[in-house]
Symmetry: C2
Subunit: 182 residues, 2 copies
DNA sequence: ACCTGAACACCGTTCAAGT
DNA sequence: ACCTGAACACCGTTCAAGT
């Protein structure tokens, strides 16, 4: 990558991080380019889709979550390891307001720039879920897809301003459903 | 209302019902006016906000849900009455794709045209929940707001195409959390 | 009273023209 | 190679002008 191109790329990413934190995942891309002092076409070549931009912004977080799952997989209590990871996954996913709907769409769209991240998120959760199920700590009638769906539902809830005060409590209710054996 | 005004109103409502069913709650209002053969300003005067239009479209459904709660309140099994109503509430709310986020926003916004409908939905659910709690069929650590949030989460899940096949199963998981006693 | 549609200020996306 | 910004086709919302 040419030096000027790299500079634009970095600048776009930094500005996008701020704008998305401010306005959510559906922020104006025009606004991002404007604030970055870059032509609109430049943004589109570096990030051909909104998903590509979000993927670049969120990759670090996804990687951290996968690594966190590895650590937690070695803990004694498989049930609370699962719930702990779940809580962190919801928090991470929630941190970019509005991104969760795109992520859900991406899991069944191999062409999406977010696809790989979603698959690895689901895989990390599946590992912890299966272990908890094997040890009898989690209900046996669900799989990684269900877990991914419940994470997305909780992240969505935490994204709705009127529900924010109840988000923790709703997490308790739903996670209790996972831990209860069938 | 003048006869021509009433005709426009009815025509707008009929077209909006079709367009919203097709494109979801964020459908183009311009498109609605166009297809209704009516000026854009006419749509805006009859329905000053998107919420007002949706409210007109959904009022019947909300009324039916409230009435259904009355019926179910007289059934023997307070727990399954609650779950049955919950299932119907999710289905009703889901039927207008994308409306659920607006409804959640409306519950804490008295100025919204959807506010009253949301409050009555919550009230209907609360009646069934409290009865089930009194009889020991539902967990005691939640209230009508939590129930409303869970309905909205389930409706949101059912709105995401990749999750549709799992929607029923996710309903079972979450409703089991409500019925389990604490 | 009621209706219309132009006007304004925004989008996302593409692509010819520049350096 | 890379960048720019005009161009196109859309929005939501308002409001002067018409009947």
């Amino acid at each position: 990558m040419r030096a000027d191109a790299k500079k634009n790329y970095d600048q776009l990413l930094a500005v996008a991080r701020a704008v998305v934190a401010e306005q959510g995942a559906d922020a104006s891309l025009r606004d991002v380019a404007r604030r970055a002092g870059v032509g609109l076409g430049t943004l589109y070549r570096h990030f051909p889709t909104r998903e590509a931009l979000l993927e670049a912004l969120l990759r670090t977080n996804f990687d951290a979550l996968a690594q966190r799952a590895d650590e937690l997989e070695r803990s004694d209590d498989s049930g609370s390891a699962l719930v702990t990871w779940l809580r962190e996954a919801v928090a991470t996913t929630h941190n970019c307001s509005g991104a969760i709907a795109l992520m859900v769409a991406a899991i069944s769209d191999e062409g999406s720039a977010l696809h790989a991240s979603c698959v690895s998120l689901r895989a990390a959760g599946t590992r912890l879920l299966v272990r908890a199920q094997t040890k009898g700590a989690a209900r046996s009638d669900m799989d990684g897809n269900d877990l991914f769906a419940l994470i997305s539902a909780l992240a969505w809830l935490a994204d709705q301003p009127p529900l924010v005060p109840r988000a923790d409590h709703l997490f308790e209710i739903i996670s209790s459903a996972i831990l209860v054996k069938v």
